[in-house]
């Protein structure tokens, strides 16, 4: 028990450090002589000397934090194996949060590797950090690896829970990008000369990446819900019982379904899409946390 909790703690501090470094990176970044000409990809703005280094350290710390997060989950899996013979390291609220932040950070690292835009880290790593932080604020009794209640003791927990949580991570990323979009847009509209903006990608890119994150989350959530239905068919004697948790995940899915259809029409790009992504993420948070603590139902295991 001590081992994994120690690693989870370490993950928390590393993510905090990574977040601060990304914020530092954004602050250190100065606009170059001329921003990239329209349509040209590699026009990295020059900076005042420190930004590149800070950015590099930020990435390294993030990756290291993610590795520690992975180790923490593995250690927890081992501990679970000792206690109850199942290993899924996402079997209670705490572990689920730790797993979500793992998935968010993984997603972010992949995004950075592919698109080389570090400023997003200030938002997305921020959410990963908050998830980890919220997990460690849970009372100790929620953090330990207690044996599973019989209803959870099934191989479905490996796949249903992990897929659903991964979709939450994708929506978290979209939410973070939405906030970033709105901040940048606001600053631009005010004609702000804030140099913070220098490191931000252009609005269209933020918008598109946010849309992509939702396009990853949407099928994953559908799959997660359906796996949940299959599990319910084995455990509860019916694939759908309108339990608050399943209803709320359907609600979240419907909300993003509306978003995806809205994107087909032109006027739902940019500003509205960003607000909607933030709203959707708030609904995800409610589905993930609110339902467990506020509403009763078959999912109230924690």
């Amino acid at each position: 028990m001590i081992r994994s909790l120690f690693l989870f703690d370490m993950t928390f501090w590393l993510y905090l450090a990574a977040l601060l470094l990304y914020v530092g990176y954004v602050l250190a970044k100065r606009p170059g002589m001329q921003l990239a000409a329209a349509g040209h990809p590699a026009g990295l703005p020059e900076d005042s000397g420190w930004a590149a280094q800070i950015g590099q350290v930020a990435t390294i710390v993030t990756v290291f934090g993610w590795v520690v997060n992975t180790l923490a989950l593995l250690a927890r899996a081992y501990e679970r194996m000792q206690v109850s013979g199942t290993f899924a390291p996402w079997s209670n609220q705490f572990e689920a949060m730790a797993y979500v932040s793992w998935a968010i950070i993984l997603g972010y690292v992949l995004l950075e590797m592919r698109y080389r835009i570090k400023a997003i880290g200030a938002f997305v790593v921020g959410i990963g950090f908050l998830a980890m932080g919220a997990a460690s604020l849970l009372p100790y009794r929620y953090q330990t690896a207690e044996p599973l209640v019989p209803a959870l003791n099934s191989y479905w927990i490996y796949i249903h829970v992990s897929i659903t949580l991964t979709s939450y991570a994708a929506f978290a990323m979209a939410g973070g990008l939405g906030v970033m979009y709105l901040m940048k847009e606001r600053a631009e509209r005010r004609g702000s000369r804030l140099r913070v903006l220098a490191s931000f990608p252009d609005l269209e890119t933020i918008d598109e990446l946010g849309y992509k994150a939702i396009m990853v989350g949407f099928p994953l959530l559908a799959f997660g819900i359906i796996l949940g239905a299959m599990w319910a068919n084995y455990a509860w004697g019916g694939y759908w019982s309108w339990d608050p948790k399943e209803t709320w995940s359907l609600i979240v899915w419907l909300i993003y379904g509306a978003y995806i259809h809205a994107r087909m029409t032109r006027d739902w790009e940019g500003h509205r899409a960003a607000i909607y992504a933030v709203f959707g993420f708030l609904m995800v948070i409610f589905c993930f946390w609110g339902v467990n603590f506020l509403l009763s139902g078959l999912h109230a295991y924690a």
């Binding site: 990809p41 207690e146 479905w156 419907l254 139902g297």
Partner: protein
Amino acid sequence: MNGERPTVADPGPTPKSTPGLGWNELSAEVVELFASIKLAMFLFIVLAMTATIGTVIQQGERPETYIKEYGEEAYRWFLRLGVTDVYHTWWFTSLLGLLCVNSLTCFYKRFPAIWRSMHQDKVNVALPFIKGMKQTVAIPVAGPKDRVAEGIVQLLAEKGYRVLAKNEATEATIYATKGIMGRVGAHMAHLSATVIVLGGLIGSYYGFQEFGVCLEGQTYHIPKGQFDLRVDKFWIDYHENGSVKSYNSTLTVIDHGSPVTTKTITVNDPLVYKGIWFYQSSYGDAWDRVDLARVNIKEKGTDKVVGTIDLPWQKEVSLDNLGLKLSLTDFVADFGFDSTAKKVYSKTVEHANPAVKLAITEQPSAKAASVQTTPWIFYQYPDLFEIQGSKYRFELVGYQAKKFTGLQITKDPGVNIVWIGSTMIVVGITLSSFIYHRRLWAKVIPGESGVTVHLGGNTHKSQLDFQKEFRKLTERIQTLKT
């Protein structure tokens, strides 16, 4: 999936008819409305909003519960709007039905075009069409027209595009497309809504869900399955720390008098026989029988305990030293007496006022005659009755209740259809999320020195990736070796 589709490439077969209010116009309007994205968005949002009701207001409770919590006036409104069972109200079901109509109409209206473009695409486009596209570029390339066109065709084919080309004297036109499966996937997802709802309907009309309280060693007839079920055993496994590991019932199916199959079911592992599923759903203490009851025997005179005995269920036990024969004949968990039928029964299933019925035979002794009696002995009121003529007083000090296992018995013939629909929705959404449909047109027009390649393209989503790809293609065409 709406229309960024270029109309030039896919000209409608008939010119627009003059506006009127004929049948055709009306039906076209109706199709337009029911296939619209606006309706889809509206339904998604309204369904999401109304679905929250059932998670805030408890569903299917007794009237008193609602009246106590919300008041009588509110409850009347609840009934009117059906919010105590919101997911089965006519209006919620209609919304689901409308969603099916919406997605089916969308399929009907848009899928044929996709189908056609999978099989027969037209190369013909005019130059202004290419120039008017979201991504468009004019690239001067050195080399003869035919060779350049050939090079572009090869390049696009390498990139996985399906390429069509048309070579004319003055120009060469190339059309390339990729990722149509993304659109097919979207329509697969559209169809899945109806399939899932259909599966649900079949389940609710032809399926059933029942609950059975079963005792070990008993055989129960399952009328809807035409067979019997014997409950062999029920037990609970525990973890080392004392928490429950699993609830287990061993069940045997008896069909036409002979045992067919035996299975130990647990919470996540039901028994399935002839389409009927038996789930381990709950357990509890039986209210009408016990395994054992412990009785203290006190001597009336001295009030001393002269014997303690564990009585098994309905078996006579002799206590020769006390001259007693005892037998535990009945048990109720919550004692009640029906004065008209003169019968004892258990008022609830709770062990609120447990009592056992003993059959006592007391041998005649020097002081008293033989006594035969069948008193009820109460756990909570040990001194309630005195047995006339007996030397002894009997106290019920404890009992080991017989456990029952709660089985849920379910049949749902629609479930496999639901799984088909589920597969369709997951595969469909995945395809449409990760594969995007792109189309490119190129015209190679000979100029004074070399040729000019007009390249244009569009996609219905993933603009960023497409931009990148378009840029790379442009670079490759610029450096085309002919």
